[in-house]
């Protein structure tokens, strides 16, 4: 029976002691502890949120970078293509100009050759005329070696020449 028969004194002191413990801890211990815990949890939460935002931003940044890189690559391709086009055009132009020049040179060469040939023909003609004169002179000298013949011939020439 003693086990379930507590004394009034024990109940009194227990009530007092537990009441005091609750009161003191409620006033001096628990608020500090629970507030500190809540504060820390909040700061951790805050830090996690900030980290999340940063990660998000990093992701965006990375995406932007990739975009940029992609654009740069595309631009590089365009630039290279354009350069290739320009090069081809330049080459074509150069080739065309070269051909033209060559044609022009060939043409002028032909011209010059023609001129040379013409000059040569004139020279040859002159030469032939000279030679012909020489021959004619020699022939005439031969023919007009006697005076009679000379006279006759002069007369003939005089007759032929219109004297006015």
């Amino acid at each position: 029976m003693e086990l379930v028969n507590p004394g009034i004194g024990l109940i009194f002191w227990m009530t007092l002691a537990f009441g005091v413990v609750v009161f003191i801890l409620k006033k001096f211990a628990w608020p500090a502890i629970t507030n500190a815990l809540a504060e820390r949890e909040e700061s951790i939460e805050e830090a996690l949120r900030a980290a999340e935002i940063t990660r998000e931003e990093m992701k965006k940044l990375k995406l932007d970078n990739e975009e940029l890189l992609k654009e740069a690559k595309e631009e590089r391709v365009t630039i290279i293509n354009e350069a290739r086009k320009i090069r081809d055009k330049m080459l074509d132009d150069a080739r065309a100009r070269g051909n033209e020049e060559a044609d022009r040179i060939v043409e002028s060469a032909k011209q010059r050759i023609q001129n040379e040939r013409n000059a040569a023909i004139v020279d040859i003609k002159n030469e032939i005329a000279e030679i012909s004169i020489l021959i004619a002179e020699k022939i005439l000298r031969e023919k007009l070696s006697d005076t009679a013949a000379q006279r006759e011939y002069v007369n003939k020439l005089l007759k032929e020449t219109n004297l006015n």
Binding site: E2, L3, I11, W13, M14, T15, L25, W30, I33, T34
Partner: protein, 362 residues
């Protein structure tokens, strides 16, 4: 009486030795006991004396010398206050100022005055008994402990917990998140958190200190029905102080019940009112019974050694191996029970408080 005393001296010393020193010490004592006194060892009485409250704090008996801490006796009887040390009773063997410790009957173990007709009269007894003294020590310890923890929280604001702070932080968080918040709800739990935290740590630490077999432990505080009754009373009082309109309405005019169950015979209100008191009553009995049972089992295993040792020394030797093993196992189990019972008491208190502040829902 004398022979009983002699046996107690040896066995009690042996129990202490056995629990905390070497097995050989106990066997030696058991041997001595068997040699010197061929008297009966009353395990039931022995165990009971370890579990109930006492007017002095018994440490050990060596030979015929009792070593105990005397505690103040405070009595109020017939308009007079009496103050004296419990050592005046000489461990219950003599009376002082007409008062003595009753040995049998309904008032066994209490201070009584013997009336002229031989009947026991019980004065108002405010003595600082072993349990009261233990409560004072653990209360002071708990206050010191949590104020120093609070200080380290203030000192290390926003930083990770350190030292003793990190030992208690998981428990504090467990009570806050898994007991208070879950049972009471986000809206009201903050209000009851200090009470629930105090309740939990008071029970838990007293349970643990009760498992230490020597001073300042060893008092069966949470295994005392008065102590658990006061704790349950605090819960009931908190419920009543904070119970809202909805709570009282549920008791006196339970919604959803046909009117003829309330008028003219208030059947449902009576059931509800009984329910109001059974809740703390169950809290009281559960904690008391669990802790007391654990102590009884451990002491029972230890007593086995002396019961067997009475018949043969070899028997004492043999059974001591088993008994100590079982007692160690029980001690581990009691560590678990110390936590579980503190947890259950706090959880149920939180649930009852949650019911008291619950908003009306349709």
């Amino acid at each position: 009486m004398a022979y009983n005393k002699g046996i107690m001296t040896h066995s009690k010393l042996s129990i202490l030795l056995f629990l905390f020193f070497y097995a050989s010490n106990l066997v030696l004592s058991a041997e001595q006991q068997v040699e010197k006194e061929k008297k009966e060892f009353n395990a039931g009485k022995k165990i009971m004396s370890h579990i109930v409250d006492a007017y002095d704090w018994h440490i050990a008996d060596i030979g015929d010398v009792h070593i105990s801490i005397p505690l103040p006796v405070i009595l109020y009887d017939e308009g007079d206050w009496h103050f004296f040390w419990s050592s005046k009773f000489e461990h219950g063997y003599s009376s002082y100022k007409g008062y003595k410790i009753a040995k049998e009957g309904r008032l066994s173990g209490k201070i009584v005055r013997i009336a002229d007709d031989g009947a026991y009269i019980r004065p108002l007894d405010f003595s600082i008994t072993k349990n009261v003294f233990s409560i004072f020590i653990t209360s002071a310890f708990i206050i010191w402990l949590f104020i120093s923890i609070a200080k380290s929280y203030n000192r290390r604001r926003g930083h990770a917990p350190k030292g003793i702070q990190s030992v208690f932080e998981p428990l504090i968080l467990f009570i806050r998140d898994d007991i208070a918040r879950d049972s009471i709800g986000e809206k009201h739990y903050r209000k009851f958190l200090p009470f629930l935290l105090t309740l939990f740590f008071f029970i838990f630490l007293n349970n643990l200190i009760g498992l230490i077999p020597f001073f300042p432990g060893g008092a069966n505080v949470t295994g005392n029905i008065g102590v658990t009754g006061v704790l349950a009373g605090f819960t009931l009082l908190t419920i009543w102080v904070n119970g809202n309109k909805n709570y009282w309405k549920h008791i006196f005019n339970t919604p959803g019940m046909p009117w003829w169950l309330k008028v003219p015979i208030p059947l449902i209100p009576i059931i509800e009112i009984v329910g109001v008191f059974t809740k703390p009553f169950v809290l009281m009995v559960r904690l008391f019974a669990n802790i007391t049972a654990g102590h009884i089992i451990i002491l029972g295993f230890i007593s086995l050694i002396f019961i067997f040792g009475q018949n043969s020394v070899a028997g004492g030797y043999t059974i001591s191996v088993v008994s100590v093993g079982l007692a160690i196992f029980m001690n581990f189990l009691e560590l678990l029970v110390a936590f579980i019972q503190a947890f259950v008491f706090t959880l149920l208190s939180a649930i009852f408080l949650g019911m008291a502040v619950e908003e009306e829902h349709h």
